[in-house]
């Protein structure tokens, strides 16, 4: 045990003598949060829309007005054919076309239901889903008004559903995009520090030749390697705190759920990432290789497949399958549920279980592949 702490102390010396790297590691979450939170925000503003109104009654006019009045949408023009709608979308003159059915008001009064079609340009799924959500929310928020206006009196038992409730809006009423990025940034930073830095620092010993001396000494290689994880664990905890503080106090994203469970989920993810780093170090023999493996095999998929930038549900089936094997995907989902949706821990048991299993599997694999000798 004493040997273990000797190694831990040595690792801290390595880290703190490399001031530049320490600064990068500690400032990175700050920069990322600010970048993602503000600069890269994909918020929807001034989206032009056209209206194809087959009814032209009081209700449809009211809904169109409500949409135009919102800060997100600008009314472009009225159109009269579907072809026109297609053309406007294709030529990017508008991003949204609102289509009202014939006899909109009559249907509503008779059946308690009527149909609005929202046509959006799907080539940019991020913007499209944003536009849809915003439009939906405006319509939903005017539901009561509309019903009153249409003169429909609901029966007390079955309240009519004019528009399906949009689930995301429940948890993100102000529609801030930062809400979606915070879990992603947490996943990325923790993966970066734990997996990349741990593997690079182990491989460095192989590269500078000290591993050879350590292997020829009584020290168990497992001690050498586990001691490497301690400083990066601590750095990750500091970064976790930084990210949470920044998101609450700078971005204004509240922690709606239990902070204890959130921290626990993060710790489990840190363990997954550390064991990923150990695994990388067992097959990389140069620092460059370790960086490439952790960068290309682990970081890129984390960014692209974990739902941090593109929603997993928008991906092709094959990629969705691949995404199931990305630890960060589960972490990001758990953080969304715990932090932003404020759901109880019982709703993330699956995510926690999967991450714990991954950590265990990676640790066993990497300890097994630790070599007692040079080959």
């Amino acid at each position: 045990m004493k040997q273990f702490w000797v190694f831990v102390k040595k690792e801290f010396m390595h880290i703190f003598r490399d001031t530049r790297t320490v600064m990068i590691l500690l400032l990175m979450p700050v920069v990322q949060i600010i970048l993602f939170g503000f600069a890269l925000s994909n918020e929807i503003k001034d989206v032009k829309f056209a209206v194809l109104d087959h009814s032209k009654d009081a209700v449809t006019t009211f809904i169109t007005e409500r949409i135009s009045q919102s800060e997100y949408f600008i009314f472009a023009r009225d159109i009269s054919t579907e072809e026109e709608a297609d053309y406007l979308i294709k030529s990017s003159q508008v991003s949204l076309v609102v289509v009202y059915d014939n006899n909109f008001r009559e249907n509503l009064v008779r059946d308690g239901k009527s149909q609005i079609s929202l046509v959006v340009d799907g080539s940019d799924p991020n913007t499209a889903s944003g536009v849809l959500r915003y439009a939906n929310s405006i319509i939903a928020s005017s539901n009561e008004h509309i019903l009153r206006l249409s003169g429909f009196t609901p029966l007390s038992a079955e309240k009519p559903t004019f528009i399906e409730p949009v689930v995301e809006l429940l948890y993100n009423p102000q529609m801030k995009s930062a809400y979606n990025f915070v879990p992603g940034v947490m996943g990325l930073i923790l993966m970066l520090i734990c997996a990349m830095m741990t593997s690079v620092s182990i491989v460095r010993e192989k590269e500078i030749g000290t591993m050879e001396v350590l292997l020829a000494s009584p020290v168990r290689p497992v001690i050498v390697i586990l001691a490497k994880t301690v400083p990066y664990f601590i750095l990750s905890v500091i970064n976790l705190a930084t990210i949470l503080l920044l998101s609450v106090f700078v971005l204004g994203v509240p922690i709606t759920g239990s902070i204890y469970w959130l921290v626990l989920a993060s710790f489990i993810f840190i363990f997954v990432s550390l064991s990923t780093g150990l695994l990388i170090s067992s097959f990389a023999s140069t620092q460059v290789a370790a960086m490439l493996i952790s960068g290309l095999v682990f970081m890129m998929p984390v960014m692209l497949l974990s739902g941090m930038i593109y929603p997993v549900s928008n991906m092709p089936y094959l990629l969705q399958v691949v995404a199931q094997f990305i630890p960060a995907k589960w972490f990001i989902e758990a953080v969304r549920k715990l932090m932003i949706q404020g759901l109880p821990v019982t709703s993330v048991l699956k995510e926690l279980f999967i991450m714990t299993s991954m950590a265990a599997a990676f640790t066993v694999l990497s300890i097994r592949s630790f070599k007692q000798r040079l080959e």
């Binding site: 004493k2 040997q3 000797v6 040595k10 010396m13 390595h14 003598r17 490399d18 500078i208 030749g209 000290t210 050879e212 001396v213 350590l214 292997l215 020829a216 000494s217 009584p218 020290v219 007692q372 000798r373 040079l374 080959e375």
Partner: protein, 308 residues
């Protein structure tokens, strides 16, 4: 440790990496307290041999023992009792001199003060740089620090893999003096080198080439077993002399050795070799040459053995 065991015993060790044979049937033994040199150029297999003996690689066939322990089965025991200095720089550049020494002492669970007497001679030159980072030391100083770190746990056998490669003659001589003092304390030293002249400083030497052991002997024994007659030839036009020497029938081989050429005369030649060579040189218009009979150096022996 166990004094009844030889410090190092190698029995028919072979090692292959894929298609490449790095070592082929290497067998030798070393005596306690001896300075044993493994001598050969790059690619001879010295480092592979050292890595097998220090339990870092497993031989493909054969067996080896350090202080009686099997390098394969008892590797944990061997790792406690050996000191190892690999060929390349193997210290932490971002740690200070003192931190490096303390670190290596602690991985062997020893207090650096307890064994300080072992490294005192070497380390006192490093004292003024105690707090300097290892990366900022000169080459010679780094080497002294690495040696100190390899010695701090008072190893029973010290393995030094090419400690003098790329080191200038002055520092090399100084390094060998340090090794002599360690030997005097009773530490068995196994050292490899590509510099043939360092062979003379060892008690016994093993000459290696392309993974094959050419021979094991004391330097004097090695020289005694050289069975050609060796001549040194000097003259004004050294370049022409060498060409002519190689044309003479009885000359097995001729090479430059510093300011003279060495010509090996086959033992079959019965006559006066000096006389014969002088005549041949004069006959080809090379006057004022000096030919004399000399004792071979280890390098001559190496070249003779490796040519066969």
């Amino acid at each position: 440790m166990s004094s009844e065991h030889k410090p190092v015993v190698a029995e028919n060790i072979s090692k292959t990496f894929g298609q490449v044979t790095a070592l082929q049937n290497i067998s030798f033994e070393t005596e306690r307290g001896e300075m044993f040199g493994v001598i050969g150029p790059d690619g001879a297999g010295k480092t592979t041999l050292f890595r097998i003996l220090t339990t870092l690689l497993v031989q493909t066939s054969g067996s080896a023992f350090v202080d009686g322990y099997d390098v394969k089965g008892d590797f944990r025991k061997i790792r406690k009792i050996i000191g190892y200095m690999p060929g390349r720089f193997s210290l932490y550049g971002d740690l200070s001199v003192e931190e490096n020494l303390n670190f290596f002492a602690s991985i062997f669970k020893v207090n650096p003060k307890d064994n300080y007497y072992l490294i005192k001679d070497i380390f006192h030159q490093l004292e003024p740089f105690r707090n300097r980072k290892a990366s900022a030391l000169s080459g010679g100083m780094k080497q002294k620090l690495a040696l100190s770190c390899a010695l701090i746990h008072k190893p029973s056998v010290l393995f030094l893999d090419e400690p003098t490669t790329g080191v200038d003659p002055v520092s090399r001589r100084e390094f060998w003096q340090m090794l002599d003092r360690l030997k005097a304390i009773g530490i068995t030293i196994i050292v490899s080198t590509a510099y043939m002249d360092e062979a003379l400083l060892c008690d016994r030497i093993a000459l290696m080439k392309n993974g094959i052991l050419l021979g094991v002997n004391s330097p004097a024994g090695m020289v005694a077993s050289y069975n050609n007659r060796l001549l040194a030839v000097k003259g004004d036009d050294m370049h022409s002399i060498l060409k002519v020497l190689r044309d003479i029938k009885v000359v097995k081989s001729a090479y430059s050795f510093g300011h003279e050429h060495h010509a090996a005369i086959s033992p079959d030649f019965g006559g006066d070799a000096v006389e014969k060579i002088s005549q041949e040189l004069t006959a080809r218009g090379l006057n004022d040459t000096l030919v004399k009979s000399i004792k071979p150096s280890v390098e001559d022996c190496y070249m003779e053995l490796s040519a066969n």
